[in-house]
Symmetry: C3
Amino acid sequence: MRTFTGEQWLMRIFIGENDHYGHRPLYEVLIELFRKEGCAGATVLRGIAGFGTHRAYHTDRLLELSHDLPLIIEVVDSHEKLTGLLTALDGYMGGGTITMEQVTVYRYGSS
Amino acid sequence: MRTFTGEQWLMRIFIGENDHYGHRPLYEVLIELFRKEGCAGATVLRGIAGFGTHRAYHTDRLLELSHDLPLIIEVVDSHEKLTGLLTALDGYMGGGTITMEQVTVYRYGSS
Amino acid sequence: MRTFTGEQWLMRIFIGENDHYGHRPLYEVLIELFRKEGCAGATVLRGIAGFGTHRAYHTDRLLELSHDLPLIIEVVDSHEKLTGLLTALDGYMGGGTITMEQVTVYRYGSS
């Protein structure tokens, strides 16, 4: 059954695979945060190349980019929920970029 | 040659790698549907971690997330085309989330 | 420290893994271009399946799709910067699709 959830927001967090919080990979910590905060879902995508959003590169050699592959973490939820998450994220993010945009959302489920 | 296609829509379908339709992976069935419906293109991205949009998790253990990796299927087309697809998708989707948003589109091609 | 960068644009370039410029993979050439042009960052995602945006398929057999996996290259920057890049991209793109959309951007950094 399709449910029209209406206008919600997509938050996308650009970090690096080598980013950590304490001794744990940052993306794992963030996924755990989103689950605890009751988000409907989250997805972590890993790029095969990239540069920059997570930290500065001091080289021009493309090969060195592969040492810290870019990650994009996506969460779709209400604007209120994501605004609250943004404040929570400030305690974890040492670098990187977050984008937010409005999307129309349909949810499927058996209930 | 660049062609300005104008305002179109991006549809993104969040499902799980283990989702099936009959005996076939759901993402394969959907890609085939989009080709038959004459869409200009479609892309399937696989996440490295995630939770939730495709089915409920009854555990807090992060390791178990890897058993059903999240997929995002992307299609860019006219609003009319995507609205028609949405109705067709209702017959295939048992769970998951679909988002739609307007984008400006440029197409490149030799013709 | 979180910095509100305000309204910027997300450019997404859909090409194929087999697309080349000269003897080099096109995605590498584009990433290099974005670095030289001073973009804050870029990310290359590789799909696991797909069709169409990068070149026409003359087969219905899904298995053949895997020969040229789809890539999505993402750049977040000002509208002015991306408009300039679009003109530069015309010299490299032989096929494919580019989408642009407005997003709200927050940057994190130590400075």
